[in-house]
């Protein structure tokens, strides 16, 4: 087997092939004042885009966020509650702040992370959750009142006056809440779903994932390597390390090229593995066309893959965590790694002068790299008093950022120095590093708990994660590049060896191998203001303290009371902070306080993607009957019956109301002859030497003695004694029966019969096959039905009343030799037959019947006329077999044989199903013939109060009978069999109806059954 790696360039490590109309301009132009040199963008091509109506330029390889930063735009969004001005916090999918409405019109896409949106020429983005503009947002008034809007304040107020909640408070809250907007237009894009299979799924294409893929790929295993980014490389794209004698990204490119050439490896960029489900099934979303203005013709926007894998290696890296301090949310304040990513990968800085605030060595790298790019780094502020000097800039050891300033973007930070004095440091951006959290997300999707690793002060994947999943690299707490390569290769080899495959680890070049060196530090305790933990939901340190004070102390209470971690980023950068603060408040360790686990999906997935192509007319497959084409040509109106489309009635020229058509069809059948396509009824072939015995088990009434060439009505019960289905079963030969089921229950009945066959009576010689589709079956009904059929049935077959009496069946030929089956059964109450031929001849047979029937003024009739006639004849159907009705209710109590064991016979003897005043099926006729019987109406004894306590039953089916010139109905009435002739009230307050109806025999037409036997 080999994979087809899609050769559209998206799989190889090149910047986005995004520029359908990219202009070659050379250079960044003056507008991109914060563009640096280098990076993995293509400065030779310029892409135009707009944000909030203003035009900007960027380059292939940019994200919307990097391009905005290049253009000196730091302000990108507003927070949920306080509408605080916000910029990027991250450079990837964990972004809580920089959410925009991307694209316009029906493609408008709310809450899109600017940090992952690939730039294309003509991209249009709009800020959201602000009014009238991002800079001047009226709702920012909330920030002024933030002291009143603390965690859970809404649980304590808005209770009075009682009526004000729905009318006043809630509408205001709802309008203010929410983030982006939907367009309210149908999503015009298409989405695919697909299925992939592999030995090893590698989640993440950073150093550990690439090393793992090389290891497994070279060993010949079927490998899927997926990364959410549009480029493989992971952190290596944002770092400047060398790997061996190559710079990092060259090593990545070489590895990807090698993998791409392997037929057993499928490299999937722009593909997020977002859920770990049972038994090695993972869900993945591939963003096929999101980097393009519109998807190419016939191509999907995204694909939802279901991946079946034997082993999984989690190489998802780690996410840096922030430190909480007063006003730590101003645009320009971001994770130190993000600042580094923007500089190294995208050649962008958020400001010309920056600073770094860290509790670990890794933060210093940001300073080093930005200095190397020519950006001025004002200082590295390190909480550790013994912080090492790494970058060539001022180091403030033992210092903390205690406040910041700048209304719409950072101007300066206020630092409390080790000696207790304060100093303002001017900077337009601050990189913050509080250490790293392994990206354990997928490992907890099956409710397995991560475990605490004291050395890195973070949770790592625990032992009870999804079976078959292991982790490597930073996702497992091995943070250095060397460790990532090494563990990636080793874990891949181990996974394969677990599968009995041979694999050896690959030779690893030397590279960065720094030990994580940090002192845990969660929040700055100085200051009285607000320090944000969850930036999107505006959860601050104070909120956590309040939750503690009010005894919402378990992690779940904390989360729910404060909404911490409930935003669109699912707490990727905030959960740990909240947990650590609660731990401190309760005096417990972090692992004692709790863990945070994650629910799928890893990152949010469009509903369209989950839906795939099952939309609109293709929501479910359509089943067409053999006469469908003829019906279309002859004015049929169709109705959905399950997945079937059935002709409901046929409109003749001049008919303006459906009732005209239906009445005509009914009269024609009752007076002459009509044809109805009844192919949809389930047909089950029952064969074998024990077939008759088997039918005795599944039907409540007896079948063993049914003669060959005869058909019998059968009532099928569930084991609880309630009616499950009914139909007719014909005995074609000693060991061959054909059963019909109702259209709706065909599948259930077949399944039930296989259960009875395989699980209850495994030694019976009986075989079942569903043959519903194989035969086109038409009901030919009416006094002239025999005459019509005699023109078609080959003459050697006698279908006279004597030769083929009511309930007869026979295999015959028609039209000069076509094999067919003929049953003399009737749903309408008229003399009637059902004729079946192989489906391919169904169309021709319909046409022939209509042609030959002309002399009898034959009509085609639809489900509506069928329904009218079965009500007139008092036959129960789906409306009556509603899952609560037993044989007694149907007037068939005596059919349930006590002489044999059948499914449901024992339980149908229970007291509650045999009450003296049990419901009986009866007919109803309005006393005043102009009144209408309404299905769903309830029955009251005449003169009794109209309320539930006096309910006597209900009407199940109703119609207008053109034969009786009256509305009629069927239904269930308490002790109805003994109330014939009584006038009862039919009430339907829902439709404002209360009429008197007479209780009558449900067989309105031909109760003696003369016509069917004619």
């Amino acid at each position: 087997m080999t994979y087809t790696n899609r050769a559209d360039g998206s799989q190889i490590n090149q910047p986005a092939a995004s520029g359908v109309r990219a202009q070659s301009s050379g250079g960044s132009g003056k507008s991109q004042v914060n563009r640096l040199r280098g990076g993995q963008i293509d400065p030779q091509q310029t892409l135009s885009f707009s944000f909030d109506g203003k035009k900007y330029q960027g380059h292939p390889g940019d994200t919307l966020a990097s391009a905005l930063l290049a253009n000196n735009v730091r302000l990108m969004g507003r927070s949920f509650k306080y509408h605080r001005p916000r910029g990027v916090l991250t450079s990837g999918s964990a972004e809580p702040n920089a959410l925009v409405e991307l694209r316009t019109g029906a493609r408008q896409e709310p809450n899109t992370r600017a940090t992952t949106a690939e730039l294309f020429d003509g991209l249009v983005a709009k800020s959201q959750n602000r009014s009238p503009s991002l800079k001047y947002d009226f709702m920012a008034i909330n920030d002024r009142f933030s002291n009143f809007l603390t965690a859970g304040f809404y649980y304590k107020t808005f209770m009075w006056p009682k009526a004000f909640w729905e009318k006043l408070y809630e509408p205001i809250i709802r309008k203010a809440a929410g983030l982006g907007s939907l367009s309210f237009e149908d999503d015009p894009d298409e989405y695919d779903k697909g299925f992939l299979h592999c030995d090893l799924l590698i989640v993440g294409g950073g150093p550990s994932g690439l090393a793992a893929a090389l290891t497994a790929g070279r060993a010949g295993a079927r490998v899927i390597l997926a990364d959410e980014d549009f480029m493989f490389g992971g952190r290596l794209n944002g770092e400047t390390f060398d790997i061996g004698d190559q710079i990092g990204r060259e090593w990545v490119a070489a590895a990807v090229a090698e993998l791409h050439a392997m037929p057993n490896v499928r490299c999937m960029s722009r593909t997020t593995i977002n859920g770990a489900f049972d038994h090695g099934i993972y869900s993945a979303v591939e963003r096929v066309s999101d980097h393009l203005p519109v998807p190419p013709e016939g191509k999907p926007r995204q694909i939802l893959w279901r991946i079946y894998t034997k082993r999984t290696l989690l190489c998802a890296g780690a996410i840096e965590r922030p430190i909480a301090f007063e006003n730590n949310d101003r645009p320009g304040i971001m994770l130190a790694s993000a600042m580094r990513d923007y500089a190294n990968r995208w050649a962008v800085t958020a400001a010309q002068k920056v600073a770094v605030f860290t509790n670990n060595d890794d933060g210093h790298r940001t300073a080093v790299d930005l200095i190397a790019k020519g950006v001025k780094v004002a200082a590295v502020i390190d909480t550790r008093t013994d912080a090492p000097r790494i970058a060539d800039c001022e180091l403030l050891a033992g210092a903390q950022v205690i406040d910041t300033a700048g209304r719409l973007g950072l101007n300066f930070v206020k630092v409390r120095l080790a000696d207790g004095t304060d100093r303002n440091i001017e900077c337009g951006a601050l990189g913050v590093s509080g250490g790293w959290n392994p990206n354990v997300h997928l490992s907890s999707h099956q409710r397995g708990r991560p475990v605490w690793n004291d050395q890195i002060a973070a949770f790592v994947p625990g032992p009870d994660g999804p079976p078959g999943l292991t982790a490597a690299g930073a996702a497992n707490g091995d943070f250095s590049t060397a460790a990532a390569l090494k563990t990636g290769s080793a874990q891949a080899a181990a996974a394969l060896s677990d599968l009995g495959m041979k694999a050896s680890t690959i030779d690893l070049p030397e590279t960065e191998d720094a030990q994580p060196n940090q002192t845990p530090f969660w929040y700055v305790k100085y200051g009285k203001g607000r320090a944000w933990i969850d930036q999107q939901n505006d959860v601050t340190v104070k909120d956590v303290k309040l939750a503690h004070q009010e005894n919402y102390r378990s992690v779940e209470h904390l989360k729910r009371y404060t909404t911490l971690g409930m935003a669109t980023d699912q707490g990727k950068t905030s959960n740990m902070g909240g947990l650590a603060i609660m731990a401190e408040l309760t005096g417990q360790s972090i692992p004692e306080t709790g863990t945070t686990i994650f629910r799928p999906p890893y990152s949010p997935v469009p509903m369209g993607t989950w839906g795939g192509r099952a939309r609109g007319k293709h929501f479910h497959p359509t089943r067409e009957t053999p006469s469908h084409k003829w019906a279309v040509e002859n004015g049929a109106t169709f109705v959905e019956v399950g997945n079937w489309l059935r002709a409901q009635w046929f409109t003749k020229p001049g008919e303006t109301h459906w009732r005209e058509s239906v009445d005509r069809e009914v009269r024609a059948v009752r007076e002459s002859v009509g044809v109805c396509d009844v192919t949809t009824l389930g047909k089950i072939d029952v064969q074998g030497t024990d077939a008759a015995q088997f039918l005795n088990k599944v039907y409540a009434n007896a079948f063993a003695k049914l003669a060959v060439g005869k058909t019998r009505y059968g009532l099928m019960l569930r084991e609880d004694g309630v009616a499950m289905d009914d139909g007719t079963t014909a005995r074609l030969s000693e060991h061959h029966f054909v059963m019909t089921t109702t259209t709706a229950n065909a599948v259930n009945v077949y399944r039930h019969m296989e259960f009875v066959r395989q699980c209850l009576f495994p030694d019976m010689d009986v075989q079942l096959i569903s043959t519903t589709e194989a035969w086109a079956q038409y009901a030919v009904a009416g006094p002239n039905s025999r005459k019509l059929l005699q023109k078609i049935v080959d003459p050697e077959f006698d279908i006279s009343n004597e030769g083929f009496e009511f309930m007869a069946c026979r295999e015959i030929t028609v039209c000069g030799g076509l094999r067919a089956r003929l049953f003399r059964i009737s749903f309408s109450g008229e003399m009637a037959f059902e004729l079946a031929v192989p489906t391919r001849y169904g169309d021709a047979l319909m046409r022939r019947l209509m042609e030959e029937g002309k002399e009898f003024d034959v009509v085609a009739y639809g489900t509506e006329a069928l329904g009218v006639m079965r009500i007139e004849k008092g036959h129960a159907a789906g409306n009556e077999l509603n899952g609560t009705i037993n044989a007694l209710n149907l007037g068939m109590g005596r059919m349930v044989s006590k002489k044999k064991d059948s499914i449901g016979s024992t339980m149908s003897e229970r007291e509650g199903m045999n009450l003296p005043d049990a419901l009986n099926m009866v007919g109803f006729k309005p006393v005043n013939s102009a009144d209408k019987v309404t299905a769903g109406g309830h029955l009251m004894t005449k003169g009794s109060p109209v309320d539930a306590a006096h309910d006597q039953g209900y009407v199940t089916s109703a119609c207008y009978s053109p034969i009786l010139n009256s509305s009629i109905g069927l239904g269930f009435l308490k002790d109805g069999a003994n109330r014939m002739g009584e006038i009862v009230s039919l009430v339907s307050p829902l439709t404002d109806l209360n009429v008197d109806v007479e209780v009558v025999n449900p067989q309105f037409v031909d109760p003696e059954g003369v016509r069917v036997r004619a």
């Binding site: 949920f80 709310p110 809450n111 009143f148 809404y154 649980y155 304590k156 107020t157 808005f158 209770m159 009075w160 009682k162 909640w165 809630e170 709802r174 809440a177 929410g178 982006g180 149908d186 999503d187 049972d278 099934i281 099956q446 104070k542 009010e550 005894n551 209470h557 009371y561 409930m566 999906p601 469009p606 509903m607 369209g608 989950w610 839906g611 795939g612 099952a614 609109g616 007319k617 293709h618 929501f619 359509t622 959905e640 609880d720 309630v722 499950m724 509603n882 229970r910 007291e911 299905a935 769903g936 309830h938 109209v946 309320d947 309910d951 209900y954 089916s957 009430v987 339907s988 439709t991």
Partner: protein
């Protein structure tokens, strides 16, 4: 302390230092008159009404985890009383009336929001069944309205009226239906019960029952033995597990029902809407997320998570009904374990063991039932007679043939 807008302002002006714990963390006493097992919505409500309505004292609620952590902590927040059968509709309408005054009674804003629920109709037989149901509701004093396609289109123009596989043909609305902030229900009852002296004991798992001569004397717990005169199981989702410790088999199986929420969106759906031709129902939270769900996964499980086929089925149905949500993103999925009873209706009854009572089998209808369930269970515990609205919810209805099978699916719990 009483909550009010005035109090919020007062506390804001003094740095929120005055807020008291919403409930205590009491140590368990050696015995109680009433022990309710399970501090979910129903358990807390039961304890509250026992104290409030029936004046009982010495009440404990034992919770193996954190209060409100059962299905009241993970559901789709819908309240409604749109049932068809005699055994059900009066009970749920009673519950609806309790919801309508709940927040004032509890002094806790649970955001009871009667924005309406709409069940869509896609076929004539479905309409007939809904008419019957709507009439049953009205005959029981609840509200119901049959809506035409035009009325629905006016309110929800973005539903699929263009190329639907199963076109919308109408709908049954209950305008008093709506949603409630689910966690706040648990917290509101907990705080109110605590203020009446109920001991809510968290992290206290019941590990066994002490049964002597057919009488239940108390419970073994992870925090020691606790004696009780009346022991009330109220742990829907774990009912079979708990009652097996008393040697009981139940007419219940456990399955998982998944639910989903999208990212926050500016207002889309004013009320609750249910698709009649697929497995999808949806509302929008006050925060802006579309909260939706469908049918249970269908296999027995105690794991609070589901699998992809159900996720996809629900979302396909959602897209079929509302193609305009294609670009809204699903943020999170979760699963709750349901007590699926054999007829789809709950049980509030004594058991054959004296002193041991049972409340469970709520299928996925438990949340909306919370106030009525609490009242009826408290009534049973206090008086040893069934509450008038819960008199059909007996154990023996299965043996005797009086099942309350709203959906008509028979003894197959995963189909209810």
């Amino acid at each position: 302390m009483s909550y009010s807008g005035f109090r919020v302002i007062k506390e804001a002006l003094r740095g929120h230092t005055g807020w008291k714990p919403a409930w205590r963390n009491p140590e368990p006493q050696s015995s109680y008159d009433y022990i309710v097992i399970g501090a979910g919505g129903h358990g807390l409500a039961t304890a509250y009404y026992l104290a409030k309505e029936y004046g009982k004292k010495r009440i404990a609620v034992l919770e193996k985890g954190w209060l409100g952590g059962g299905n009241v902590g993970r559901n789709t927040t819908i309240i409604r009383s749109n049932y068809m059968l005699d055994g059900n509709e009066p009970f749920y309408e009673f519950s609806m009336k309790k919801w309508e005054g709940l927040e004032q009674e509890l002094n806790y804003n649970a955001m009871v929001s009667q924005r309406g629920i709409l069940n869509l109709i896609h076929s004539d037989p479905q309409r007939d069944a809904f008419v019957r149901r709507g009439n049953a509701m009205m005959l029981n004093g609840a509200d119901a309205e049959l809506l035409s396609v035009e009325q629905i289109r006016a309110r929800y123009p973005f539903l699929n009226f263009n190329d639907a596989r199963f076109p919308i043909k109408g709908g049954l609305a209950q305008h008093r239906g709506g949603t409630v902030r689910h966690d706040a229900v648990a917290w509101g009852y907990a705080r109110a019960a605590d203020r009446l002296g109920v001991d809510i004991i968290q992290n206290c798992e019941v590990t066994g029952f002490r049964i002597e001569n057919g009488v239940c004397k108390g419970v073994e717990t992870s925090r020691g033995y606790i004696g009780g005169n009346k022991i009330a199981s109220c742990v829907a989702g774990s009912s079979s597990r708990l009652m097996s410790k008393a040697g009981m088999r139940l007419p219940i199986e456990s399955t998982v029902l998944q639910a989903f929420v999208t990212e926050g969106l500016k207002p889309v759906l004013p009320g609750v809407i249910t698709f009649g031709a697929g497995h999808f129902y949806c509302s929008q939270s006050d925060k802006g997320g579309l909260v939706f769900g469908g049918d249970p996964d269908g296999y027995n499980t105690y794991a609070q998570r589901g699998n992809l086929p159900t996720v996809e089925d629900v979302c396909e149905s959602g897209m079929a009904l509302i193609p305009a949500i294609g670009r809204a993103r699903m943020l999170r999925m979760w699963g709750g374990v349901m007590d699926m009873s054999m007829d789809g209706s709950p049980i509030i009854d004594k058991t054959d063991i004296d002193g041991l009572y049972f409340n469970g089998g709520w299928c996925y209808g438990g949340f909306k039932a919370t106030p009525a369930s609490g009242m009826c269970y408290a009534h049973l515990l206090a008086t040893d007679t069934p509450h008038e609205y819960a008199k059909a919810y007996r154990f023996d209805r299965f043996r005797r043939g009086y099942v309350i099978d709203e959906k008509g699916m028979g003894a197959q719990p995963n189909l209810h």
